[in-house]
């Protein structure tokens, strides 16, 4: 790994943000992506990478991205749960990297879920 040295610079940069997050322990927003065979085949990986990219661009210190398995609704994959503390969990379905920008901007940053992408809208 030739660029291991670059990591030191990145490490310094992220330290502040991590401290900030520890102070706001109870305020962390979680993004959970379905990453079983069905999710992966439907395109979960680019969606997950788009979330990482968007979070990095906006420098959001209070957001973490994690994965889960199949929850049995394979036809709706890629599925993403956004869990904002103190609010009800919102499940987005048929996600694409293009939709990620709006979910981050409107839901995670501004607190208004993107109704038309949710499971409620898809199952009507």
């Amino acid at each position: 790994m030739k660029s291991l040295a670059e990591l030191e610079a990145i490490r310094q940069k992220t330290l502040n943000r991590i401290n900030l997050r520890q102070e706001k322990e109870g305020e962390v927003t979680r993004v959970v992506i379905g990453m079983a065979t069905c999710g992966i085949a439907a395109g979960a990986r680019p969606v997950m990478l788009a979330f990482m990219d968007e979070i990095s661009k906006r420098n959001l210190s209070h957001v973490t991205v994690s994965q889960t398995g199949c929850i049995g609704m394979c036809r709706l994959e890629p599925m993403v749960d956004v869990i904002v503390p103190g609010q009800e969990k919102v499940t987005y379905v048929h996600m694409t990297p293009e939709k990620v920008g709006r979910v981050v901007a409107e839901h995670i940053v501004n607190g208004r879920p993107v109704e038309e992408y949710t499971i409620g809208a898809a199952e009507k």
Partner: protein, 184 residues
């Protein structure tokens, strides 16, 4: 699945579910165009009974659905090229999956975004397991180990977005010259 890197992402989820502490992936392309993908873990392993039916699409350990397509789909893609998929496993020791593909076959899937697969696995499983990657072809080789990254980061979690971006970029830089033009 559109490419092999997506299959690899899927198959490595099995190792994660088997509570592995180290998962090693190697992707080797030989002079005569044979691609071997090996995933090795030190997870719970499988009983002989489970191992004997794991290639069937109707074998799964999950409860949310009755089919498990990850392994059978990959096995089929290997066979289409004239290659095969083998699994060795021992309860309590771990599992090794070896997929062989002939890249000269028109049915051979492209390798795809291997850096994306590794970055996805690592950032969604930042604490454990550890991942190692070894890529080699007649054009060169590379090694990657999350333990080295972890040591360099001194406590900064591996799922920080900047770290993920670094990982993606540095893996791409190292993997492309090895497989670029052949199967990427």
């Amino acid at each position: 699945m559109r490419d092999l890197s997506l299959h690899i992402l899927d198959l490595m989820q099995n190792s994660i579910r088997a509570k592995a502490s180290v998962i090693s992936l190697s992707v080797l392309l030989s002079e005569d165009g044979i691609l071997s993908i090996t995933i090795e873990d030190d997870g719970t392993g499988m009983s002989e009974e489970l191992l004997s039916r794991v290639l069937s699409p109707f074998a799964t350990t999950r409860t949310t659905r009755k089919v498990g397509l990850g392994i059978p789909m990959m096995a089929e893609n290997c066979r289409l090229t004239g290659g095969d998929l083998r699994i060795e496993s021992e309860l309590g020791k771990g599992t090794r999956l070896i997929a062989t593909l002939h890249t000269s076959s028109i049915d051979c899937l492209p390798l795809g975004d291997l850096p994306g697969t590794m970055t996805t696995l690592i950032t969604t499983n930042p604490e454990s397991p550890e991942f190692t990657l070894h890529c080699a072809s007649p054009k060169g080789e590379m090694q990657f180990d999350t333990r080295e990254v972890r040591a360099a980061l001194q406590g900064v979690p591996l799922n920080e977005p900047e770290i993920a971006a670094w990982m993606m970029e540095s893996l791409r830089e190292e993997i492309e010259p090895i497989f670029g033009g052949v199967i990427l």
